[in-house]
């Protein structure tokens, strides 16, 4: 792979407090040097970044890939294409596939399938319970040895308090991280939208917003009881954030992420039965959206994940309650996050932290940093360039974006994986 000097870029690495104009030198697929006054060694090609931002390749800590089992929705190859277009070079994949990733061999398979793409590191999550069925614990120790970065039942919450306690307790012995889909399954059963005026008008079965805070409150107590690490995925309500804020203040090892729909959209997006805005958890009231925005800024939220859930048209062209929840999110992750910077006062460095070192720290992954000697996983983007999200024209196979027609500012110009240009 040819060495490369990226010149005339704004180097931005929130984890290192780095924000300066300069260049970055890639040698043998690794970051050899970066800074203000880099000389160009002989025989090294250059690329003029035109003053755009060069940051670590984004780390997406929550995505479903379609493989194995749902290849009609997305494949690892097509997801990798979408990820590259979104500036993402490292991605944690949910285990609730068909079959579920609940065997060490499957964990190794997911790792190597990522390597085969040449553009994307896949950090596999493993099932917390066998088959993600919520009945008996998976082999947490063996799965971890095989390379699982954390344990979760994906889109399914562990509803049984006794099982959750056992899981947290057992995992703590290995220092393993558990990720919970925060929604009380009994309260949420049969629901299609957040309970409230919008669901009432549309005649849709509701899920009370407290279904999230209830499970989070319970699990925080279980984390305290067991001394275990615990992460809540795609948090979406004000009450949940308040619980997590307090748990952090208390010193518990509790973290959380959210996803762009929860700070960019509210429940009105499902008006006229728009199934592309049917998500899990469902879109919330405006007050909750505002609380999520505040949580991004004040540090309560540790990461922004794409929450990429590929679906095909047949999954979505159904009456609302029957349509499958989930939205495509890889290609729009950065753009929708930057909308918070442009329109809501979120600091650019903070936004990027939530997309790079933030999730890497939660997962304990060596990624999301501009560091000399580290693999040259890079994202070059123009924070001002305008574009419009258009379902049907997004990179990758899944086109089920809840952001169709959304005008965005901030476009990825180039993505590099281990020094190789994989997008742009």
């Amino acid at each position: 792979m040819p060495d490369l000097l990226l010149e005339n870029v704004r180097l931005l690495d929130p984890a290192a407090n780095l924000d300066q104009h300069g260049g970055l030198l890639v040698r043998d697929g690794r970051i050899a040097d970066f800074g203000a006054n880099l000389g160009r060694p002989d025989g090294v090609g250059t690329l003029d970044g035109g003053g755009a931002i060069l940051c670590p390749g984004l780390v997406d800590m929550r995505a479903s890939l379609g493989e194995p089992g749902y290849e009609y929705r997305e494949t690892i190859a097509s997801a990798a294409e979408a990820a590259a277009a979104g500036g993402i070079t490292t991605l944690a994949a949910l285990p609730d596939s068909r079959p579920a990733i609940d065997d060490p061999a499957l964990v190794r398979l997911m790792r190597s399938r990522g390597e085969e793409t040449g553009s994307l590191t896949i950090l596999p999550y493993a099932a917390l319970t066998r088959g993600c069925r919520g009945e008996e614990l998976a082999e947490i120790g063996l799965l971890r040895e095989a390379g699982a970065v954390a344990f979760t039942d994906g889109q399914h919450a562990v509803g049984n308090a006794r099982l959750m306690r056992l899981a947290l307790s057992y995992a703590s012995g290995f220092g393993a991280l558990i990720i919970q889909h925060p929604e009380d399954p009994a309260l949420a059963a049969g629901g299609a939208a957040t309970e409230g005026e919008q669901a009432t008008r549309l005649g849709l079965p509701g899920i009370p917003a407290v279904a999230e805070a209830m499970l989070v409150a319970r699990d925080i107590r279980l984390a305290r009881l067991t001394g275990s690490r615990l992460h809540f995925a795609h948090v979406s309500t004000a009450e949940t954030l308040e619980l997590i804020r307090r748990a952090k203040a208390e010193g518990l090892a509790v973290t959380c992420d959210t996803a762009p729909p929860y700070f960019d959209l509210n429940e009105t997006a499902i008006g006229d039965f728009r199934t592309y805005a049917k998500l899990s958890p469902p879109l919330r009231a405006e007050a909750d959206r505002l609380a999520i925005c505040a949580g991004l800024a004040d540090g309560t939220i540790d990461a922004i994940a794409s929450d990429h859930q590929p679906r095909d048209a047949d999954d979505k062209r159904l009456p609302f309650a029957l349509a499958s929840p989930g939205g495509a999110g890889l290609a729009t992750l950065l753009g929708v996050t930057l909308a918070q910077v442009h329109g809501n006062g979120l600091l650019l460095a903070r936004a990027l932290e939530l997309l790079t070192s933030g999730p890497a720290a939660v997962l304990g992954a060596e990624a999301g940093r501009l560091a000399r000697g580290a693999p040259a996983d890079l994202c070059l983007f123009d924070p001002e360039r305008a574009w419009q999200v258009e379902a049907g024209k997004l990179a990758g196979k899944a086109q089920n974006t809840p952001f169709d027609n959304r005008a965005l500012e901030g476009k990825v110009l180039g993505t590099w994986k281990a020094g190789k240009r994989v997008f742009g």
């Binding site: 309970e195 409230g196 005026e197 669901a199 009432t200 008008r201 549309l202 005649g203 849709l204 079965p205 509701g206 009370p208 006229d272 039965f273 047949d314 062209r317 159904l318 009456p319 609302f320 309650a321 029957l322 349509a323």
Partner: protein, 311 residues
């Protein structure tokens, strides 16, 4: 003022003049129907398909009669929803209907929003004949026509809608129509059967029949489906009847001349006592059925003219 839409999917979003137009036109059809005459040239050569994914006798028959009285070719299609591929069936059906060159499509489905989905896919005008727990617009129109004929105007009427509001598409359509036309609306029922944030739709909430019916001009009863008992939303039929079933004693709290309505089919002894349901002075349940045909004629008339205008 013309009715400004291709379809009739919901009452929500209709403007008062649009509703008034449909009611005025329906009024003329009441007179026509009573005279024993028909107007078979209006929809001659047009095809109306009754597409029912859910069992119904009364609504389907009412649309069938309305279509035939206006001269349409009426076809009834009953589609089983027991098939696992409900969604496929719905869109496949849309393709089939387009091939048949159907003009007016009347849809009933057990899923909220199913007619909206079909309306995106078919060339014909779609009339929602009841979708899940969303809306049942022609029921609200026929209730309004019944009320208007009996009470003169909808403006200022106090209407109590009682029972399983949560699962009722009839209630939602009536709430939208009545609040749009200036009536005061109360919903009355146990908290487990009242939808969240329903007050935002402009109604008052009551959890007991005494306060809910006090001073009401109209008592609109809703059907309680048996499976609600199994879901634990109410403990038993006898408890429900004791507290929320409409009998003479509870009706006595409403105005002297209050009328009683029910969209049918009734669960006698569950939500309504036969003595009330069959009371010739108070109950207008029979009139509602008659108004149903006239209202549906008005809707078919309006939508087919609208289609011609847009053609």
């Amino acid at each position: 003022m013309h009715y400004g839409h291709k379809h009739l999917l919901a009452i929500e979003g209709l403007h008062p003049p649009e509703i008034a137009h449909l009611l005025d036109l329906a009024e003329s059809y009441v007179l026509l129907n009573r005279s024993g005459k028909t107007q078979r040239d209006l929809l001659r050569g047009r095809t109306l398909i009754n597409l029912f994914f859910e069992d119904s006798t009364r609504t389907r028959t009412s649309f069938e009669l309305a279509g035939k009285r206006l001269g349409a070719d009426v076809i009834n299609m009953s589609v089983s929803t027991s098939s696992v591929n409900k969604g496929e069936t719905l869109l496949d059906t849309a393709t089939t209907l387009n091939a048949m060159r159907c003009d007016l499509l009347v849809v009933r489905h057990n899923q909220s929003g199913a007619p909206n989905l079909l309306a995106q896919k078919v060339a014909s005008s779609v009339i929602n004949a009841g979708d899940g727990t969303h809306e049942h617009p022609t029921q609200a129109l026929l209730d309004a026509l019944t009320l208007r004929r009996r009470k003169g105007s909808l403006e200022g009427l106090l209407v109590a809608i009682c029972g399983d509001v949560l699962h009722s598409r009839v209630a939602r359509s009536n709430i939208h129509l009545l609040t749009t036309m200036g009536s005061r609306v109360r919903v009355v029922g146990p908290p487990t059967l009242i939808p969240a944030s329903v007050a935002n739709l402009g109604v008052e909430i009551h959890h007991d029949m005494e306060s809910g019916l006090a001073g009401a001009d109209v008592v609109m009863m809703l059907r309680l489906q048996r499976e609600r008992m199994q879901g634990g939303l109410v403990p038993s039929e006898r408890e429900y009847f004791r507290f929320f079933g409409l009998d003479r004693a509870k009706l006595a709290g409403a105005k002297q001349d209050a009328i009683v309505m029910h969209p049918g089919p009734m669960n006698r002894g569950v939500e309504i006592d036969s003595a009330v349901a069959d009371d010739p002075v108070r109950s207008v349940i029979g009139t509602q059925v008659e108004m149903g045909v006239a209202v549906r004629m008005a809707v078919l008339d309006t939508l087919s003219r609208q289609a011609l205008r847009n053609a």
